[in-house]
Each structure stands twice: as structure tokens, then as C-alpha cells.
């Protein structure tokens, strides 16, 4: 129902040490990512900070300019320049943000916050119906109606994230974009929010795009996982298969770095060396090759295409042959 094809996002930055009239530098934040999301499914997007995962979903939501590529929603292409198309997109695709407290207006009560989208998407509803819908939605995410007249600062981080989820879901969207929704929360609260998202997904058949840097959480909530590096897809596979049998060298390195809460597990030696190449000046060939332990000369020849693996696909020319 949501299809992203060959998305590119670029930003212009003023460069230092040049003349005022020299052209601005271009940061290539997202370089050709494609994915398809079906109703009621979850796609997880993981990668290190700066890999473009948040920018990608911000572009899908229309919060960052899409330089190239196509987003289609229920078979219809989204036109980010048209008001009507954006209205349609926003009523079906909503977003929750990383910092739960900063994403709520401190001067509105949480009932007003949750009721506000209804005024925009359901103009036919009167004030009382909006109020009731907001209270019902708050109740569904576990905030009792008795607390609905409080302000965001009276709630903890976990509760604020629940309120953010209520605000996103009150107008009944089909897709929820989650931009690191639990990385600011404590482990015990994080599990509550993840479970809430899964329960809501089961109830209303919501499709989720779940962006996070924590592979443990992503593995848990996703059906399919997309691994991004330098704005490009390195590997895409069902969550279980990705963790059990990672194909791309970058996925392997990323997995080996995840700390396991078991002292008997020996800490694996780190495979990633070196720094990320500059997104201002993308290298030829494979983007990961400067840090890859298996890189050979041919890796520098051309950007590797996605090739099928045993369970998904990966962008690497040195993959083991699929069995």
C-alpha cells in the first residue's frame, strides 16, 4: 500500500574555505532506497546515525524534500507539491517522533493535543465528538481520562510517547512512521511502548515503518528489515533471517556490535574500522568498501546492485552464492 521507489534526498550546505560565489555543497543523505509496505505489516529500518534512515521517512512524510524517486500510496503517486495530495497523504500516513516530550506542544492540554488532528482531518465532527474520540484514543494507549486536562510536562517520557501515539492514530491513518520512538526511553518503559504499538497494529491493521538504531527492538517488532548505510540499502530480509544469517558484510558487522545481555557470550572482536566517507562527495563503487573487511578492487568499479540472497536481497558483489 505504501511504495517507495528509488528515493533520493539531497541537502545544500554552505561550504567553508571557498568563495562566496562558489556553488553550495550537496549532502547526499538518501541515495536510492526502495521498499514496499503492505497493510498490517512492519518494516524496520536500521543503521548507524547519519545513515539517512530518519531523513528517508521524513521525506516520505513530506518533511524533507524528495530530490528524485517516487512514493505511491494505495496505487496513487504522492505529489508533494499539491495541497490535495498532501492532505490525502497526511490523513493516511502519520508519524511519531524520537523525543516524546519535545514533540508535544507544552501550552496545550493533552486532550487538545490529541483532538487537534480531528479538527483538520474530520471537519464534519463537532467539538464534543472530537473530545470523546480523543478521550477514547487516550484510554486506548493507557492514559486515563481523568488525566486528559493535564499538560505534557506533568507526564513522564514513556507517557508522552503514548500521547504522541494517540495523536498520530486518532484520525485513523493506515501507516504509522516511527522515527526512533523508543530510543529516549528506559528499557522497562521501552518494552511497554513496543508492546502497545504491536497491540494497536493487531487491533486496527496498522502498517508500521519502524526506524531505530537498536537491532534488538527492530528485530522484535519488524516483519522485514532494511539495513541502511550512507543513505543506501545494504540488505533487505525478513527479520529472523537477517539476524540468523546476515549476508552483507555490513549487516554482519552491525550485528556483531550489538551487546548481548549474557556474560557467557564472548564479546566478538570488532569488524568495523575506519571512518565513514563524506556524504558531500560520495565515492565511486560500493559505499561501504572503505570499512569493509572483504573489499577487493572490483568493489570500487560500480555501485553494486541489489542481488537476491537466500531470504531477501543485498547490495554486495562478494556475497556467498545462494544455496
Amino acid at each position: 500500500m505504501l511504495t517507495v521507489t528509488d528515493a533520493h534526498v539531497t541537502f545544500e550546505v554552505a561550504q567553508t574555505k571557498r568563495w562566496p560565489w562558489s556553488p553550495p555543497g550537496i549532502v547526499h543523505a538518501v541515495n536510492g532506497v526502495s521498499f514496499t509496505l503492505k497493510a498490517g505489516r512492519t518494516i524496520g529500518i536500521v543503521g548507524e546515525s547519519g545513515c539517512g534512515k530518519s531523513t528517508l521517512i521524513r521525506a516520505v512524510a513530506g518533511l524533507a524534500p524528495l530530490a528524485q524517486g517516487r512514493v505511491t500510496l494505495d496505487g496513487q503517486r504522492v505529489d508533494y507539491g499539491s495541497r490535495a495530495s498532501m492532505q490525502r497523504l497526511r490523513s493516511r500516513v502519520q508519524m511519531i517522533f524520537q523525543d516524546p516530550i519535545a514533540s508535544l506542544n507544552p501550552r496545550m492540554t493533552i486532550r487538545e493535543i490529541v483532538a487537534e488532528p480531528l479538527g483538520f482531518f474530520r471537519p464534519e465532527m463537532d467539538a464534543e465528538a472530537r473530545r470523546d474520540a480523543a478521550l477514547a484514543m487516550l484510554d486506548r494507549v493507557g492514559i486515563p481520562a481523568t488525566q486528559a486536562n493535564r499538560f505534557p510536562h506533568e507526564f513522564s517520557g514513556g507517557q508522552c510517547q503514548r500521547i504522541g501515539i494517540a495523536r498520530a492514530l486518532v484520525a485513523e491513518p493506515k501507516v504509522l512512521l516511527c522515527d526512533e520512538p523508543v530510543s529516549a526511553l528506559d528499557v522497562s518503559i521501552q518494552a511497554q511502548v513496543v508492546n502497545l504499538l504491536k497491540a494497536l497494529q493487531r487491533e486496527i491493521g496498522l502498517a508500521l515503518v519502524f526506524v531505530a538504531h537498536d537491532l534488538g527492538v527492530v528485530r522484535h517488532i519488524s516483519d522485514e528489515v532494511l539495513v541502511m548505510y550512507m543513505g543506501a540499502t545494504m540488505e533487505r530480509a525478513p527479520a529472523g533471517a537477517l539476524v540468523r544469517d546476515p549476508q552483507h558484510p555490513y549487516t554482519r558487522a552491525l550485528l556483531s556490535a550489538v551487546p548481548v545481555p549474557d556474560p557467557r557470550v564472548k564479546v566478538a572482536p570488532q569488524m568495523l574500522e575506519g571512518d565513514l566517507p563524506s556524504p558531500l562527495d560520495l565515492p565511486e563503487g560500493c559505499l561501504f568498501r572503505s570499512r569493509c573487511s572483504r573489499a577487493v578492487a572490483e568493489c570500487g568499479a560500480a555501485r553494486p546492485p541489489m542481488v537476491p540472497t537466500c531470504s531477501g536481497e543485498a547490495a554486495c558483489i562478494r556475497l556467498p552464492a545462494p544455496a
Binding site: 548507524e48 528499557v187 511497554q192 522484535h220 548481548v260 564479546v267
Partner: protein
């Protein structure tokens, strides 16, 4: 070496007192690696600040923090300054904001030894290069000339660790050293800390909320909740046979990459308010095993756990 005895930390705020740390005691011996695990608001960072004598002005600390026999809480500032950096050093959570953006890396490092050991410029510079080498910063000589904004987050944290090592302290307090970093960089930094610890024989107190990081690094773990110790044990038994309902809940709530369980087991409820000194078990309102007496009495830490219910009866 370091012995903290019934430490209490309170804050006077506009809304009254906040009891951040309530009767915490522990010791750290030479060359030991201790982890203090807790969620935000559990008082773990305040304990580190109390040891360094860096508590905020509205804080009151009671109890004793003994460092080789001397009580750091009552030490005059001049004496305390001789212990900071030289004997006990701290690595702060946010590497980006722990460096002065106006100073070159060289000055941030050499300042410490010039101040504390009275070394000259050249000797300080040599020490800086040596320490940067120890924390595996490539091209150390060139990096000395750099400003913090020219370096990546992982490189910042290496510099901050280098700063802590400049005077070869006996104890490093690492307050969430990897929270702001990516997993890949986190793994590198943890590996570095354990190498430094092994090579220099420094004791490390690792303060973190991430049980995964603890498992691979520390020998002993203290689990903190609501400013009190819930459980204290060696790492292996703590992970294999957690003896406190909070530790059990915490371990179950961590999403494990290898475990495909469908539902995460969350701990219900939210963290305690700390407006009053606890008179009952702080975890009781969220505890699945709580009985009536848990809501009336404050369990003391006995045999490494502070819980009224016997281990066998826990779910």
C-alpha cells in the same frame, strides 16, 4: 580503595525535597570493574558526582565516601582538587558537550597535567601523545591541532577517555560512556575501556542503563532503583539467577536479538516519585510479586538482595 557508606543525596527544589540516593553502600577494590545499573532517575549519576565532589549547589549529601581512608564529602576543595584527575577521574555521558569547543585537543589534554602535576608544555605534550596512542587515536600528532567539531562522536569519546587517563588515575568513573554513541562505536569504546583497564590496572566504575554492555565488561553489578540498591551480585550469577523481581523484570524487558519471542515482557507502571525518603520497597507498586508487607516495610540489603520475598517464591 573506594568505600561508599550509607550515602544519601537529597536535592532542595522548588517543589520540596527530592531524595535521589537513599542509603547506598558499596566498595571498589584495586583493579576491579563494578557496574552500577539503573534507569533514569535512579540516582546512579548523582553517586558519581558525589564521589567527585561535583554535586549541584542545591544538593545535600550524607554518609561517607571514603577514598583510601579519607572522607571525600568533608574534604576541603583544595584537597579535593589534588584527588580529582590524579586519583579519581570521570568520563561524562555526552562526549560532544564535555569538550570545550574553543580549545584545540592538545590544550584540553595538556591543561590537566599542567594543572595537576605541574608538567611543562613539552612534557605535557609528550604525555598527551602517549595517552592518545593508548586510546588508539590514529594520527595523534595531527589530531592535537584539531578542534572538537572536526572529530566524530566516537573520536570525542576517545579524547574524553584520554583526558581521564592523563594523570594515570587509580579509579575511573565512567558515567554512561556509550549512551550517545552508535552500537558499532559503542563496541569499540567498551573494548578500549577494558583494554585500558587491563593494561593500566585501573579500577573502573561503569554507570549504565544497558545490561548488554554490563554483561561483557564487569565482574560485579549493583542494580539501583529509586535510589536504593535492589541487588548486588557477581555478573554471572546476576544474569543466570537474578534474585530480585526488578532485576528479573529488567532482564526480561531487554529485546534480545537472538530471541524471537513475540511479546516483550514489560514492567508495568512508571518510576517512583522521590518526594519522601522511602518507607516501603520503592519497587513494590510495579512488582508482580509484591505482597502486603512489601508496601509497609523497607527491605534492607541482605545477602546481596533487598527483597522481603524469598527467591524461591518469585515468579
Amino acid at each position: 580503595m573506594l568505600s561508599v557508606e550509607t550515602l544519601r543525596i537529597r536535592f532542595r527544589t522548588g517543589d520540596g525535597l527530592v531524595h535521589a540516593v537513599n542509603d547506598v553502600s558499596f566498595r571498589v577494590g584495586a583493579g576491579e570493574k563494578l557496574a552500577i545499573v539503573g534507569e533514569s532517575g535512579s540516582g546512579k549519576s548523582q553517586m558519581a558526582l558525589a564521589v567527585m565532589g561535583l554535586l549541584a549547589k542545591n544538593a545535600e549529601a550524607e554518609g561517607r565516601v571514603l577514598w583510601e581512608g579519607r572522607d571525600l564529602l568533608t574534604l576541603p576543595p583544595a584537597e579535593m582538587n589534588r584527588i580529582r584527575a590524579r586519583e579519581i577521574a570521570i568520563v561524562f555521558q555526552d562526549p560532544m558537550s564535555s569538550l570545550n569547543p574553543y580549545m584545540r585537543i592538545e590544550r584540553q589534554l595538556t591543561e590537566i597535567v599542567e594543572q595537576h602535576e605541574g608538567l611543562g608544555r613539552a612534557a605535557a605534550r609528550a604525555r598527551a601523545l602517549e595517552v592518545m596512542d593508548a586510546v588508539r587515536i590514529p594520527e595523534a600528532r595531527a589530531r592535537l591541532r584539531a578542534y572538537p567539531h572536526e572529530l566524530s562522536g566516537g573520536m570525542h569519546q576517545r579524547i574524553v577517555i584520554a583526558m581521564a587517563l592523563m594523570c594515570r588515575p587509580k579509579l575511573i568513573l565512567a558515567d554512561e560512556p556509550t549512551t550517545a554513541l552508535d552500537v558499532t562505536v559503542q563496541a569499540q569504546i567498551m573494548q578500549l575501556l577494558s583494554e585500558v583497564q587491563r593494561d593500566l590496572g585501573t579500577s573502573v566504575v561503569l554507570i549504565t542503563h544497558d545490561l548488554g554492555v554490563v554483561a561483557g565488561f564487569c565482574e560485579e553489578v549493583i542494580v539501583l532503583y529509586g535510589g536504593r540498591i535492589m541487588e548486588q551480585a557477581a555478573t554471572l550469577p546476576l544474569f543466570e539467577r537474578p534474585a530480585h523481581p526488578y532485576t528479573r523484570g529488567l532482564l526480561r524487558a531487554v529485546p534480545n536479538v537472538e530471541d524471537p519471542a513475540d511479546e516483550l515482557i514489560a514492567i508495568p507502571g512508571s518510576p517512583p516519585s522521590q518526594r519522601a525518603f522511602p518507607t516501603r520497597c520503592p519497587f513494590a507498586p510495579r512488582c508482580v510479586d509484591a505482597i502486603e508487607s512489601c508496601r509497609l516495610t523497607l527491605p534492607e540489603l541482605t545477602g546481596g538482595r533487598a527483597c522481603l520475598r524469598p527467591v524461591e517464591e518469585l515468579t
